[in-house]
């Protein structure tokens, strides 16, 4: 594998690790009420979207490096499922981010809605882990 392709793949894996770990940590913080201040969520969202952009571009870069078997193959069908799941993660995360913006812009809503926000991070974590599982299937069968 060319050094550039290896670097892109490494960045892809590390970014996913940061996303899963970060989202899991934020969810755990709100779930256990170790964190109740929603400003943490707001700050996390800035990094989340930067990481998601990096994840998508490095994902396409990986695809170019390894090649993409046709859609009728087992690999192709799994990849299609992964793409649909990625789209769901993007749309679902947009709703989560806008909900965070909404409740943090309304001070009276913040304390009321922090459990809701926590659950949104929980759902995001589950979806991201599902993407990781599909990536493992694609990489190792």
């Amino acid at each position: 594998m060319a050094p550039l392709s290896l670097a892109v793949r490494t960045l892809h894996v590390l970014t996913m690790a940061v996303l899963v770990g970060g989202t899991l940590a934020v969810w755990y913080g709100y779930r256990t009420e170790a964190v109740t201040d929603l400003s943490l969520a707001r700050r996390y969202e800035w990094g989340f979207w930067a990481a998601l952009g990096v994840l998508v571009v490095t994902g396409v870069g990986n695809l170019g490096a390894v090649g993409a078997p046709g859609p009728a193959t087992a690999w192709g069908r799994t990849f299609l499922v992964k793409l649909v799941l990625v789209l769901a993660v993007v749309v679902g995360s947009a709703v989560r981010t806008l909900a965070v913006v909404h409740v943090t812009d309304d001070p009276s809503a913040g304390a009321v809605q922090s459990p809701v926000v926590g659950r949104l991070y929980g759902a995001t974590t589950v979806a991201l882990v599902a993407v990781v599982v599909l990536a493992e299937v694609l990489a190792h069968g």
Partner: protein, 171 residues
């Protein structure tokens, strides 16, 4: 509350929606190309550095477009018409800017290194602009409507205290 980046005039909403729009656009394009069996050939003609540069350029353009749209209208229902108009204008401008960027990298050097005539290059650019503007406008409108829908869904998921779940009116 202190916003990040400090001193910047980006809002979290603009940053998130810009990234949503560009990642959805690219992911949908990959999905369609894969489902049609054209993805392998498409990626074979695109080297890694060029692909990353194109994505980064598109990300910047869409970011500027979304920021401009939200600077003049909020995502609330009352400003749908303004949002739609600004979405169309920003989409058209983004389409043309993207096309000009591609022409600048892919066509202009050929004027100096091959037998491509400057007039031919200008005609290619003109033809491209005529196509890129309406396509960009349509995409701007579509993604603008999607962003409004996402915002309303967020308002329904986490409504403020004493507020009906019709969606947030936030920039």
């Amino acid at each position: 509350m202190a916003e990040w980046p400090p001193g910047g005039d980006w809002t979290l909403t603009a940053w998130a929606l810009a990234t949503v729009d560009v990642t959805l656009f690219v992911s949908l394009a990959v999905l369609v190309a894969h489902a049609s069996g054209a993805l392998g050939d498409l990626l074979a003609g695109l080297n890694t550095v060029l692909g990353i540069a194109i994505f980064a350029y598109l990300w910047v353009l869409v970011g500027l477009a979304v920021r401009w749209v939200l600077a003049g209208a909020s995502l609330g229902e009352a400003q749908m018409r303004v949002l739609a108009l600004r979405g169309v204008a920003a989409g058209a401008a983004t389409g043309v800017a993207f096309l000009l960027g591609v022409v600048g990298v892919a066509v202009v050097p050929r004027v100096f290194t091959t037998t491509l005539e400057p007039l031919s290059a200008a005609l290619i650019t003109l033809f491209g602009v005529v196509l890129a503007a309406p396509i960009g406008a349509l995409l701007g409108l579509a993604f603008g409507l999607l962003d409004v829908g996402l915002s309303r869904l967020a308002g329904a998921v986490a409504p403020g205290r004493g507020e009906s779940a019709t969606g947030p009116d936030r920039r």
